[in-house]
């Protein structure tokens, strides 16, 4: 497997203060990688750094052979990385189909293949494609958000806490869909609060704390680590 994304010693933040301090991580082709860590560890910030939403003061990000450090989000989208924010990740007053259409805004020509692909992953959405996205349940909204991001056929999908606020049933469903998405050839980097479930489901994981790398390894290894268990389960 070849490396798709690698973040090397990245340092930066939103303003003057550094939130990330020399964070390194990588995602291989067709891999699901999860970032976990306590609140304020810089998990979401690390993800936003990939997407060009951060002031980077050191290190670099390489994606698929290109150094994308300092690129605009717009350019990064076109290069093949799509990002699903944690909140406000749908167009509420637009139908499901229109949400997907906006996701493919940069795509020229016929969209029917892209619609088919997304509706195949999310059959529930196809039946309700004329429904306003804002009227859907939390889990279905998350599906719309992921569907919107998949319309451009990204090579890497960034998911910021996709299961936040969802019931355990929907959490399982989102994880299952993420596997299905991966099986279509898309690598996934996600941030999760539900560390135990996420580590059990991901191929590999990173534990961040205070803006720095703390641990990395396969999900199972990390789950077996006592220090990590204490960090998340309070001993």
């Amino acid at each position: 497997m070849s490396t798709l994304l690698s973040m090397e010693d990245l340092t930066g933040g939103y303003g003057e203060a550094d939130i990330l301090r020399s964070v390194s991580l990588h995602v291989d082709d067709r891999e699901i990688v999860v970032i976990v860590g306590p609140n304020g560890a810089g998990k979401s910030t690390a993800m936003k750094a990939v997407f060009g939403l951060l002031k980077v003061r050191g290190g670099r990000t390489v994606f698929d052979g290109d150094d994308i450090t300092g690129w605009s989000p717009n350019k990064i989208v076109q290069r093949g990385i799509c990002y699903v924010p944690q909140v406000d990740n749908i167009f509420r007053e637009m139908s499901i189909q229109e949400n997907l259409e906006m996701g493919a805004f940069l795509k020229k020509g016929d969209l029917s293949a892209a619609y088919d692909r997304v509706y195949e992953l999310f059959p529930d959405l196809k039946e309700r494609r004329r429904t306003l996205a804002g009227s859907l349940s939390g889990g279905q909204r998350q599906m719309v958000a992921m569907g919107r991001a998949l319309m451009l056929d990204p090579k890497l999908l960034l998911l910021d806490e996709p299961t936040a606020g969802l019931s355990p049933r929907y959490m399982e469903q989102i994880f299952q869909i993420s596997r299905d998405v991966r099986d279509t050839g898309v690598a996934i980097l996600l941030v999760e609060q539900h560390a135990k479930q996420a580590l059990a489901f991901a191929d590999r994981g990173y534990v961040l704390a205070a803006g720095q790398n703390r641990h990395e390894g396969t999900g199972a290894d990390l789950l077996a680590n006592r220090e990590i268990a204490e960090m998340f389960l309070g001993g």
Binding site: P73, V77, D88, I90, F91, E93, G103, F105
Partner: protein
């Protein structure tokens, strides 16, 4: 007073005035929704549009309806130009700065109109227009054209927003600007489109106000409050709401004369605005709260 008098002297003028307010309110609501500020120069842009049409009418001797497209295009271009020269530089600053800047633009536009066309009242056509009588209803041709033109322009806008790729992009930008940017929607183009549409509709409001009343350099400024009341009444960001709001405000102003001295006609819009902001700030059709 009989029913026919009520309709002839209050309802019909109310609907006509409401249609004119609606044309302006739609632009206000779009600017509110996409750019997120109250555009106080909206009324004076309408004045400019009305006088551009006046220049065409007096210059080449055509009817104001024939001059309307010229006024729409010219005002749309002026609106885009004002945005490029002034508002664009304030985009990243707090919105209140742009609101106050737009007040300055309003004064500048009005001053230009006064320098070029003077401060006296003008009209497109001289003479009295007599209403035709349809089943006891007294309706002037210009009143029919005003309402029909409003419905046609707003209808075309509605189709554009719901069917075309860029129309949907405008709705997306209004709905969730961050996500629109993450989706690669070019906000510069959306902003230019917004000004083209708002400026064009503004000119139409001004021209139809001029056709139904007279042209004065303060005509647009005096429409500003009712247009804002209409936009907020209908729900900010809702095009169909702005039309509904415009008609309600227009009717309320005309009907207020039945119970209040006519000097208070202009205050009606203010009362509606205050009442809505206190009781239901999202408007009738649930728009945004800003």
């Amino acid at each position: 007073m009989g029913f026919l008098e009520l309709v002839n002297f209050y309802i019909i003028p109310g609907i006509v005035l409401g249609s004119i307010y609606a044309l302006g309110a739609v632009g206000i609501t779009l600017i509110f929704a996409i750019l997120r500020y109250a555009h106080l120069a909206h009324g004076d842009l309408a004045t400019l549009g009305a006088f551009v049409a006046f220049a065409v009418v007096t210059g080449i001797g055509v009817s104001p309806y024939a001059a309307l497209p010229v006024a729409i295009v010219a005002t749309a271009l002026v609106a885009v130009g004002i945005d490029k020269v002034f508002y664009e530089h304030l985009r990243e600053r707090p919105k209140i700065i742009t609101v106050i800047a737009s007040l300055g633009i309003a004064l500048m536009v009005r001053a230009v109109v006064q320098v070029i066309w003077g401060v006296d009242s003008e009209s497109y056509v001289r003479g009295i227009s007599r209403p035709d009588v349809y089943f006891g209803l007294r309706i002037r041709d210009r009143e029919i054209y005003t309402v029909l033109a409003m419905l046609a322009l707003v209808g075309a806008l509605y189709v554009f927003l719901s069917r075309s790729k860029w129309g949907k992009a405008m709705r997306a930008m209004s709905d969730n600007p961050n996500l629109a940017l993450l989706s690669g929607i070019d906000n510069k183009t959306v902003i230019v489109l917004t000004w083209v549409i708002a400026g064009g509709l503004c000119a139409a409001a001004g021209v139809f106000l001029g056709i139904n009343t007279e042209l004065k350099s303060m005509m647009g400024w005096q429409m500003l409050l009712p247009m804002f009341a209409a936009a907020i009444l209908g729900g900010v960001g809702r095009v169909e709401g702005a039309v509904l709001g415009g008609l309600i405000v227009g009717l309320a102003e005309e009907l207020s004369v039945l119970i209040l001295p006519s000097e208070y006609k202009a205050a009606t819009a203010f009362v509606i605005l205050l009442f809505m902001l206190l009781v239901r700030p999202t408007g009738i059709l649930r728009g945004k709260v800003l």
